[in-house]
Amino acid sequence: MNRIGRPAAAVAALAALALLGSGCSSKSEDASAGTGSDGVKTGRGVTEKTVQLSALTDLTGPYATLGKSIVQAQKLWADEFNKAGGVCGREVRIEVKDHGYDVQKAVSAYAEVSPDTLAMPQVIGSPMVAALLDEVEGDKILTFPQAWSADLLGKDAVQVLGTTYDLDMIRAVDFLTREQGVKKGDTIGHVYFDGDYGANALEGTRHAAQKAGLKVVPKKIKATDTDLSAQVTALRGEKVDAILISAGPTQTASLVGVAAAQGLQVPVVTSAPGYAPQLMDTPAAPALEKTLHVVSAIPELGSDLDGVRKMVKAYQKRFPGELVDSGVLSGYNAAVLLGQDLEAACEAKDLTREGLIKAHRDRAAGDAGLGAPQDFTDASQPASLSAYIHRPDKAALGGTVLVEDARKAPGAQEYLDSAGE
């Protein structure tokens, strides 16, 4: 009796203490929501002095190089933006969280930063984006994912910048038929990653090939496959006249290198994630320069666009000796567009999460001065239909030079209309 009584009393006492203590828990304070002294409506992530942005990136996993480029580019933007006065008299701050391409780490990092975040200019990794998609939409945090699958469309809070993978491939097929001598009745191979990137790209290829009267030979690979000899041999057996590849840079290098070694001399086209300037230091470089083309929603780094030139100069000054690749431009582009959203929201005197999304969705011609303008008004449609065609070049900054300026692929609009039905 006595023995059971004592712990029970202890439990009761502890419980009482805990409940009393919770009265002074910092969690019971209400989150800051209301109107600041300057008449601007604010909510989570915005204080009198700062606007908090967060980036969920990969600095230690397979996309470490890309992650680093984007983080540094956005850091550069934040410094410039704050130097120019910030937004509504507030400084922007970017909290960078590295998830190392691990879903659980990304989810927990999101839980950590999301209560005090207004927007996210960067989220890397398709699985991470997919796992967080609903939460981001529910929390109304304006997010620019560094992933371009059409599956990510249709969310008010999530903005895919530029073209989606399927549109890239429609553009690629258009380029092949116009410039590379692929004609009706020919066969094209498409090597693609198992997952949303590859599946979405293949959808575009299938549509475009059907319109152009081409036969498609799909070859699915895994992200862990780095030697594509078997795929090249199979495609050679099918007598393909061109190859599309929706995979990583390693796979592109293997495909092009093996094809050259086997004497398969056909044009190869990939989209932006399938190429990295580091490939130019590999033995596959000569073959890449000869046969590869890259579809990209953003201009090449050597572009004579004012915005690009200024950005590259500032970046090289701020981070001397660091690699300048397309990740730098795409990260900077996202940050500039977000900055414009912030300014528009500030003008409307509404810096809440809802206000920012509204300001973003009101822009029909978002132009960062870094390539084609984008239309953000319809969340279910890609922001842009135009893409550039680049060619690898060892000597060029960022490893690519321009082949064709941004243009809409014929049939892209029709493809989107048919998908909407």
Partner: protein, 378 residues
């Protein structure tokens, strides 16, 4: 008679230490109660990050207790734990969601756990035929099979992008941000706070059921199986039945862990349920100490929480650069990985019995004076 195998080395040791502990039951129980109160008070103080880490740890603990039953106690090496977690998680999402039958979430939860058990039961004939490392490799196949199904059966699993998880609802109370909105003692109770208590209740239920299982006849039979199947069979343990029962029960625990993880994630993707997850669970029970419930729990917290917490605070350490710094500086994530690796090595070197052993030694020191006379009796 049939009771003879109960007095094996393992069981008698446990019984003696149990009797010794009986005298100290007062303080031990008080410590347990204090821990329980502390755990119940956390949601009033900790922010969403910590509660999320706690939830992941609780889910992992439930899964690890299940794996411990299978691999630690009955000696069947399994690399397929991630598969059973996935069956639980996806089972719940499909049963409670749209597309799917759209059952009440509480029913879906129970059915998902049963579904995992069924999957374990279906696999157990294979487990009955292969042993040791060979069984480990056979279970490995489950992980790859699961990955393939998760990515390709889009109608059920949502494919590569996975599916969002419908919140759990019991009798009109939803484990989500609102509905009903809840403020307890001035602290707004969101999804994390509510799920925290759900996790605690589930973990407690699993803890006690597993402990009773291990301390009772089935537990003794399973340890006898691990030490020698022939001896166990000779003493009247139905070998095949116990081996497959261990698989079913362990899969059910894994299924429950999967449901809790799904609820904590609120969006599940196939990428998470890969081989690395299975390895993590093996690491949990090894670090925690094979064969004990407390050890499995401690190991689960160690493996799950440590990297997340280190990742958050590593940038406070000296010589650690900010993420994305120029050059080849060590960032917080790298620093956290080094520290985590070092911690694992330290545990394995200096606490070979696992974290559970460390705990046991602290609470009740070894009792050779009691054991000696016992060993002299025939």
């Amino acid at each position: 008679m049939s009771d003879r195998w109960v007095s094996g080395r393992q069981a008698s040791g446990r019984r003696v230490s149990g009797r010794a502990a009986l005298r100290r039951v007062g303080p031990a129980r008080a410590a347990g109660a204090a821990a329980a109160v502390l755990l119940c008070a956390f949601p009033f103080y900790l922010d969403a990050f910590w509660l999320q880490v706690g939830l992941f740890s609780m889910a992992a603990a439930i899964g690890a207790i299940g794996l411990n039953l299978l691999s630690g106690t009955s000696g069947q090496l399994s690399l397929g734990h991630a598969f059973f977690l996935a069956v639980g998680a996806y089972g719940y999402v499909w049963l409670a969601g749209e597309p799917g039958p759209g059952l009440p979430p509480a029913v879906a939860m129970v059915l998902a756990v049963c579904l995992s058990g069924l999957a374990g039961g279906l696999f157990s004939p294979i487990a009955g035929r292969v042993r040791g490392v060979y069984l480990g490799v056979a279970t490995l196949a489950l992980v790859f099979l699961g990955q393939h199904v998760m990515v390709n059966a889009e109608g059920v699993t949502g494919g590569f992008n996975g599916r969002s998880v419908p919140p759990l609802e019991i009798g009109g109370f939803t484990f989500a941000e609102t509905d009903p909105a809840l403020v307890v003692l001035g602290v707004p109770f969101g999804a994390e706070e509510r799920l925290w208590y759900l996790g605690l209740v589930l973990l407690a239920a699993v803890w006690f059921s597993a402990r009773n299982l291990l301390r009772g006849r089935p537990g003794r039979a399973l340890s006898a199986l691990r030490d020698s199947e022939v001896a166990a069979a000779a003493m009247g343990v139905p070998v095949a039945r116990y081996r497959s029962a261990a698989f079913v029960v362990s899969s059910m625990y894994a299924g429950l862990a999967g449901v809790l993880i799904a609820l904590a994630f609120r969006g599940i993707v196939p990428d998470y349920f890969g081989l690395a997850l299975s390895i993590d669970y093996l690491a949990m029970i090894v670090i925690g100490g094979l064969g004990s419930v407390g050890g499995a729990t401690a190991g689960a917290v160690f493996v799950t929480a440590l990297p997340l917490v280190m990742g958050r605070y590593a940038d406070q350490l000296p010589l650690v650069a900010a993420p994305g710094a120029t050059g080849h500086a060590i960032g917080p994530t790298e620093a956290a990985r080094y520290l985590y690796g070092a911690a694992i090595i330290l545990v394995l070197l200096y606490v070979p019995g696992g974290l559970g052993g460390l705990f046991r030694r602290r609470v009740r020191p070894p009792t050779p004076p009691v054991r000696q006379p016992k060993e002299q009796t025939p």
